[in-house]
Symmetry: C2
Subunit: 206 residues, 2 copies
């Protein structure tokens, strides 16, 4: 077990460099935006030379794509985990909105890049990300439809309500400030309740 494994060690070093570069790119894009960031900024934040960055990635756009694709894949996995759990549509919608909101508050720098810089992606890369977004929407839509079928939910337009529930969570990335008065958990708790309210019929209506 103490023997070295050179190919594996090389792979581990490459993975580590890749992770460091992505982290540096997120930090740089977060401060200056995608268009205001140079490859030199990213290299500096990663403690590498610009030439070394090009060894790993062909362009700034490729880094943006990796950040966006990986971020959307993590959200889709989280949504699928919740949808796979036992529970009523109300419980699933609440849990999904809770986790979605908490993620957009606690990782707001990442979420801003992932949501507001998509126009900078190449058409092929944008198509990959849009397909992931379609799948995320599709998973929540199934929960909404199940709740309508069970009579728990009442919505004039399940399609726009699905968009609205996700939209409410995404916009946390714009306004959230960790120096503000609410922790990610507090935002998530309130937002989970608001999402359920959006789906259910309000009291006092016939």
């Amino acid at each position: 077990m103490a023997t070295t494994d050179p190919p594996r060690a090389r792979q581990a070093r490459a993975d580590e460099t890749r992770a460091r570069l992505l982290k540096a790119a997120i930090a740089a894009f977060g401060v200056k935006g995608f268009h205001g960031t140079t490859t030199r900024d990213i290299a500096q934040a990663a403690g590498m030379s610009p030439a070394a960055v090009y060894v790993h990635h062909r362009s700034k756009e490729e880094l943006l794509f990796l950040i966006a694709a990986e971020g959307h894949e993590r959200i889709l996995a989280m949504v699928r985990e919740v949808v796979g759990m036992k529970g009523t549509p109300t419980e699933q919608a609440r849990e999904l909105a809770y986790r979605f909101a908490r993620r957009h508050a606690s990782e707001h720098t990442w979420a801003r890049i992932v949501n507001y810089e998509l126009a900078a992606l190449s058409p092929d890369h944008l198509a990959v990300v849009m397909e992931l977004r379609r799948q995320i929407n599709h998973e929540l839509r199934a929960v909404v439809d199940a709740g309508v079928a069970s009579g728990e939910f009442d919505t004039a337009d399940p399609s726009i309500t699905t968009v609205a529930v996700l939209s409410l969570g995404i916009d946390i990335a714009r306004w959230y400030d960790e120096a503000g008065r609410w922790s990610p958990d507090q935002v998530a708790e309130r937002y989970a309740e608001l999402a359920v309210r959006m789906l259910r019929r309000p009291s006092g209506e016939e």
Copy 2:
């Protein structure tokens, strides 16, 4: 009445040039973002020379500030108009959410710039815009508080619910696409209902 008025005519021409420049800046920022837009792009879109732009505005940042300040002033005026109308807190919240959503759908290019490029403002200019945002929030918050006092609304945290109602409307600017399936009026109608649901106690809860 047919006499000419040279100073007034000059003023009218200056106003027209200013409006043309702001319109060109909104179009250019909308396509390339603030950081990706040059003064030359704005001049070209306005059919002017870059030197002529500098006669009217000292910098790209000043144009961004004028767009943001004017946009927020229009929203504040709209919100105050609704709050000044007769009606219950539910009716006022519904009307406010309706107009807010419709504006963010029909003028989504403008709304994206006004909401997502604020980090590019100078500290003094940002302070002016943040004060306008504080006043917009304050007006809605008064409606929420009135509804809680009258028993129409039920919210665990009026402060975060106020943020959420505005946030839901603002995020329309990110996702709205006029080539999509919903008109601004349709989005506004659904969103007004969702805003009211966020404020009222859902049915089936004790």
